[in-house]
């Protein structure tokens, strides 16, 4: 667990965040759907997902958002503040897939004290699941 917060001044454009590998399981998909109170059948009921044309249940958007939020705050530390999460959704995440998130710092705003992280979450079967920008505010002083 990261208890140290990154300082705005110590972050450089181009810095790469450590990649995170996430095993996509039925447990993660259903657990994420229910913890986000998203009872849409395609996220917990395989027959419903198949009726919609996919081979199995798939991850809901809230869980994808939660994972990318966690990924960035893990790196930035507990005193950071998430300001924005942009997600362009791609291929669904299904049980048995592995998603790897990679990211790098691609902009800084000195006045606001925010950094933009450009990320991509790619699964090993169907390609990019999600990509976009997370904006996070970092403390300026130690």
């Amino acid at each position: 667990m990261n208890k140290t917060t990154r300082r705005y001044g110590s972050v450089a454009i181009g810095e790469k965040l450590p990649p995170l590998r996430i095993d996509i399981t039925s447990g993660l998909i259903i657990g994420g759907a229910i913890a986000s109170r998203d009872f849409t059948p395609v996220h917990h009921d395989k027959a419903a997902a198949q009726a919609g044309g996919l081979p199995d249940i798939f991850m809901n958007i809230l869980t994808s958002n939660g994972l990318i939020g966690r990924y960035v705050t893990d790196w930035a530390g507990p005193d950071c503040t998430l300001k924005r999460i942009d997600v362009k959704l791609g291929a669904p995440n299904l049980p048995g897939f592995v998603m790897t998130i990679t990211a790098e710092v691609n902009a800084k705003d000195d006045a606001a004290g925010t950094v933009d992280i450009a990320y991509s979450g790619d699964n090993n079967v169907w390609g990019t699941h999600m990509s976009g920008i997370v904006r996070v505010a970092l403390p300026k002083e130690a």
């Binding site: 109170r37 199995d56 966690r70 005193d79 079967v125 169907w126 990019t128």
Partner: protein, 323 residues
């Protein structure tokens, strides 16, 4: 749809733009530590400002906060979603699309702004408006419209705490796509491994691909003047002869030019994905993948040797390796 039907349909859907989908939805639960813990357990989020009271109190947060990614969760409808979901304006609009054949739905984008951290005891209310419906678009999934909803989240004081834009595509599924998916769903529990996009084989180039399938890289040769040419085509550009035969390439050459494809990542292709224009020893050039080397090792003029090999269940290709 006839142009008149399309006009009627578009008039019907556009009447929804700018309207609230229903009364503001007050979250059934106020922001609370139990739901925060349930969420962070699943996302694997161990940040101490969400769960460690003592740590959070001493941090710049001054106490436990909810993960910002829970913003929308507080006002979710809950279990009713899989029983009898409430018929709001958004679902009504989707039903109009369904009735006109636009039965497919796909979330394409979300953008969420967080204005302040939420703390246990905060009460969140969601106000959702159908903000925008695009022109008719032709997409890879089929013809459809992008519907954008904007949700404003307020707290117990009526102050804005966040905003989310959500865009979905309502589309008429391509017959081909639907069929492919149905066969995947029916055939097995596991999706078929993705393969590369297959090259079209026509009257002028099928012979070349058939030779590749046999492990041979061929170069077309004009029977009139002997000039070699690639890609295959019916007539010689030098002497206009339509008579031709072909020679087998030595597969030796060098990199004439190259690029690395980053985005979007296509399923079925290996990354990093290097594409080069290879100058063959025989004199013609062809586009092929480079393999067996890292992007930073490649340079113009690099000597390469080709290998015709199977890259997946459906495709055989010449790949080029550092010589």
């Amino acid at each position: 749809m006839t142009p008149e039907e399309t006009r009627d349909f578009e008039a019907k859907i556009r009447a929804y733009v700018g309207r609230e989908v229903g009364a503001p939805t007050r979250g059934k639960d106020d922001v609370n530590p139990a739901m925060i813990r349930h969420w962070t357990e699943v996302t694997g989020d161990e940040s101490p400002v969400y769960c460690d009271q003592a740590f959070a109190a001493k941090s710049s947060k001054g106490g436990i906060i909810a993960p910002p990614t829970m913003l929308q969760i507080w006002s979710m409808e809950g279990y009713a979603m899989c029983q009898r979901p409430e018929m709001d304006l958004q679902r009504e609009l989707h039903k109009i699309f369904d009735a006109h054949g636009f039965v497919g739905v796909l979330g394409t984008n979300t953008s969420t702004d967080f204005y302040r951290d939420l703390r246990p005891g905060d009460q969140v209310t969601a106000h959702t408006v159908i903000d925008n419906i695009s022109e008719r678009k032709t997409t890879a999934r089929g013809v459809g419209y992008f519907i954008e909803t904007v949700t404003k989240f307020t707290d117990q004081h009526g102050a804005d705490v966040g905003r989310q834009v959500f865009r979905v595509l309502k589309f008429m599924p391509n017959a081909e796509t639907a069929e492919a998916k149905a066969s995947t769903a029916g055939a097995a529990d596991k999706p078929a491994p993705p393969t590369r996009i297959q090259a079209p084989r026509g009257h002028d180039n099928a012979w070349w691909w058939e030779a590749i399938d046999q492990g041979k890289l061929m170069i077309q040769r004009c029977k009139g003047c002997g000039t070699l040419r690639h890609p295959p085509r019916p007539m010689c550009g030098d002497c206009n002869s339509t008579e031709w035969d072909a020679i087998e390439s030595s597969l030796e050459g060098e990199v004439y030019s190259f690029t690395e494809l980053h985005y979007p990542k296509f399923p079925g292709y290996p990354y990093p994905l290097l594409c080069a224009v290879v100058q063959l020893r025989e004199g013609t050039r062809l586009i092929a993948n480079l393999a067996g080397c890292e992007p930073e090792q490649v340079f113009i003029g690099m000597k390469v040797r080709g290998k015709v090999e199977r890259v997946d269940d459906k495709t055989v290709l010449p790949n080029f390796y550092p010589a």
